[in-house]
């Protein structure tokens, strides 16, 4: 949208207004016709950018009109609808709070047998000592107020509680997760360097992504789909990984795998607590590495992250630190010394594209919940071009057939009708460009329908004029009565189509909307061109040229 100068469009609308004013006040036919001719010339000028003729700079300065936007079906590109799994976001928040609860219980020296997240989404806390009931309640009320808690069926000797997230709190988490997902995906898309992208919220939990003219949709999808949860965990080298694989990991540990390689995925035994997450990442850049290691990603942490990282590395010199992205261990370097300053590098035998995309997702932050593609429409640029050519060809052939037929059947009146139809096409395209409306294949169907209706308006008028001439009226009377009698049918049919268009726009989804927009715009330009302007021509012929014989 580089040229947002609407002056020419305003002049266009002013001209149309003047013509309408003269029409309703029965002003001079000649003036109306000259105004209409100016209008047509201006419309042609405004459409020049759309047909892609290269223009000199001075031209653009005077006619900086917007172009008609082509839909993805015509231009090529990718349209995606993503579903954000908000239930997962709620569940992961609850799980994190359950971990907090454990820590708080330990800090307050309250003994517990179990703190776990139930399949229902509630947290079950089983205490060991009945005497600690009040202390627990106080703690829950103070630090876990987003939960309601109620006694639950105890398994052991101590009391048990069920903590449920308050509905209001759950809504807040969902809304927050949705906002964050939208923001994150928008950031990632922005870094693809594709122009005129759309990232918009759709309904409760969906995100619409449109990438016009994108060359490699697969890479975009990879980038969008990555949850990008970055975690740092310590590797447990005091136990054997192979034993853990056979008998299950020791308490407090878990097994995570490296990326798929030719020799399979390498297992790692790590300690469960997360030392630090990707929330602290402020910047991530690709750096060229050694020939053996390939490029790596250098990550800058914020102050808080740098402090934590400093402390973790100071406490664990000699141990290995696993860098885990979306549940995959990318590298597990040995901590050789304390690392202050908050700079971390992630190596992992990346290709340059992989390293690049990793940097993007780390920079743009993690998705609060997994997203799934639930609708995708990708049109390659070659097919889009074909559709345009085919559309243009059928449009030109169809329009030519109608124009020639009208001229042959109604002779002079047919030529007037043809002029009205041509002006209609020009104005319709102009308005589409001015409104920045997107032209799609269903939209073309809408255009064809309104063009048909405007041709029909002239057929109705002309048939009526023939009738009146047969009844022995003068040309002046025949024109007046022809328009007068045909008007009620034209009016009712156009109003019903216009309002139906509005309803479809309200009700319909994408393609139906495209149809509705062109329908509504087409009705307006059609009534103007094929009723008001053709009438001006007849009035001009009769008053200025003293027309004696009307050939219809």
């Amino acid at each position: 949208m580089e040229n947002q100068n609407f002056a020419p469009i305003l002049i266009l609308l002013a001209l149309a207004g003047a013509i309408l004013y003269l029409h309703f006040t029965n002003g001079a036919g000649a003036t109306r016709l000259y105004l209409a001719a100016t209008l047509a010339a201006l419309a042609v000028l405004l459409l020049v950018p759309t047909v892609n003729i290269s223009l000199p700079e001075w031209w653009k300065a005077y006619f900086p009109a917007p172009k008609i936007q082509l839909g993805l079906d015509l231009q090529g590109g990718t349209h995606m609808l993503l579903e954000v799994k908000l239930d997962a976001a709620v569940r992961s928040t609850v799980t994190r709070r359950a971990d907090d609860l454990k820590r708080e219980l330990k800090l307050n020296h309250l003994a517990f047998a179990q703190v776990s997240v139930e399949p229902s989404g509630a947290v079950l806390a089983q205490l060991k000592d009945a005497a600690e009931r009040t202390a627990f309640q106080e703690l829950a009320e103070k630090s876990f107020s987003e939960f309601t808690f109620a006694p639950a069926e105890a398994v052991g000797s101590g009391p048990a509680f069920e903590l449920k997230l308050r509905p209001l709190e759950e809504t807040r988490i969902r809304r927050g997760a949705m906002d964050q997902a939208l923001e994150t995906i928008r950031n990632r898309i922005d870094q693809l360097g594709v122009r005129e992208t759309t990232v918009a919220r759709e309904g409760e939990n969906e995100i619409l992504v449109q990438l016009p003219g994108i060359q490699d949709p697969e890479r975009a999808k990879e980038l969008i789909g990555k949850t990008a949860v970055l975690e740092f965990k310590l590797v447990d080298d005091s136990h054997n990984v192979q034993d853990a694989l056979q008998t299950g990991p020791p308490p407090g540990d878990e097994v995570v795998y490296g990326p798929p390689r030719r020799e399979g995925r390498e297992p790692f035994l790590v300690e469960s607590p997360v030392l630090m997450t990707g929330d602290s990442v402020v910047d991530a850049r690709v750096r060229p590495g050694s020939r053996l290691e390939g490029p790596y990603v250098s990550v800058d942490l914020d102050q808080r992250g740098a402090r934590i990282f400093d402390a973790v590395t100071a406490d664990n010199v000699g141990r290995r630190l696993a860098i885990i992205l979306d549940g995959t261990v990318y590298s597990a370097p040995v901590i050789k010394e304390r690392i202050p300053g908050g700079k971390v590098s992630i190596t992992g035998r990346f290709s340059i594209n992989e390293a690049h995309d990793l940097a993007i997702v780390l920079r743009s932050g993690a998705l609060p919940a997994p997203v799934e593609i639930i609708e995708e429409r990708t049109v390659g640029p070659s097919l889009g071009r074909d559709s345009i050519h085919q559309g243009e060809l059928s449009f030109v052939v169809g329009a030519a057939m109608v124009l020639i037929f009208m001229a042959a059947y109604y002779s002079r009146a047919g030529v007037v009708a043809d002029a009205g139809l041509t002006l209609n096409i020009l104005l319709l395209l102009c308005m589409m460009a001015a409104m920045q409306a997107t032209l799609t294949l269903p939209g073309i169907a809408g255009i064809v329908l309104t063009l048909g209706m405007s041709v029909d308006a002239n057929v109705l008028v002309n048939e009526r004029m023939r009738e009146e001439l047969r009844n022995g009226r003068s040309p002046r009377e025949a024109v007046r009565l022809g328009y007068e009698h045909a008007w009620s049918a034209i009016r009712d049919s156009n109003i019903s189509t216009f309002v139906a268009g509005l309803i479809l726009f309200q009700f319909g989804t994408g393609p139906v909307k495209g149809f509705a927009v062109t329908l509504c715009v087409g009705v307006l330009t059609g009534l103007f061109s094929c009723v008001v302007v053709t009438r001006a021509w007849y009035d001009y012929l009769i008053s200025a040229r003293k027309l004696a014989v009307l050939s219809v």
Binding site: E83, K221, E375, D456, T497, F507, P511
Partner: protein, 309 residues
Amino acid sequence: MSLQFIAPNLDLDFVGKRKFFVALSSVVNLVALFLLIFVGLNYGVDFAGGSVVQARFKGQVAPNAIRDALAPLNLKDVTVQDLGHSGREYLLRFEKVENMGSIGAQVGQALDRKLGAGAADIVRVESVGAKVGKSLRRDAFGAVIVATLFMGVFIAMRFRRVSWSFGAGAVIALVHDVLVVVGALVVSHLQFDLTTLAALLTVIGYSVHDTIIVSDRIREDAMARRRDTLASIMNRAINETLSRTILTSGTAIAVLVALLALGGPILRPSAFTLLVGFITGTYSSIYIASPVVLFWEQRVRTSALSRAA
């Protein structure tokens, strides 16, 4: 030098044969309804869910070679449709896809492995999840129903001075047209997707337009000659508008026949829908919308008479 197809003083009896045509149309509609319920539309992926992949090949490829190439992907229910570019372009449809986001890449790789790298160019991918398909279907039906009802109310308002039943006539004519088109789509087994829906909406728009043109003339004649019976007024109005009906519908239908013949397989469902719809839309304005008004008026008059007696 102007042309003329229809003689100005033509006087054909249209509404006299209304019982025959209404009966005929009712039978056709019942058959269409039966087909719609028991056979069903051939929904495209937009409404049924699933994926389509359109692939262009450098050289000629047999459909079976494509099926062989896709076999390792373990995708159930693959339909391979030749798009008629002498075996160089195909539409592949998959009913159920597990990993919807990557279907295009998967198919492209599978074809490359079997037919050589760069042999196939994936020019279009459309994937719609089952849930999205369902909501698109609901929206589509909602849009069609609301638009139809609105038009009925609007027409009833505009023509109330002649008879309130014009709205009912227009709605019944519309339902008739939609059923005929849908029935034809079931029989022809052409795909019903969003593009076909746009064509169906166009048919509704055209049919209402045509009905209004004829009804408008009935309204005008009814105002001018209050002594005549409604049946003779209708006949007169239909005859008077016949020239414009033939011209407009004839031109549109001629263009559509050309589109159906030359447009190729991708445009075929829309062109077919428009062609059938414009024919039945023209027919229903004359033989359905007006007779409904006539039946209605006769019922009202007889019941008024019996009440008086």
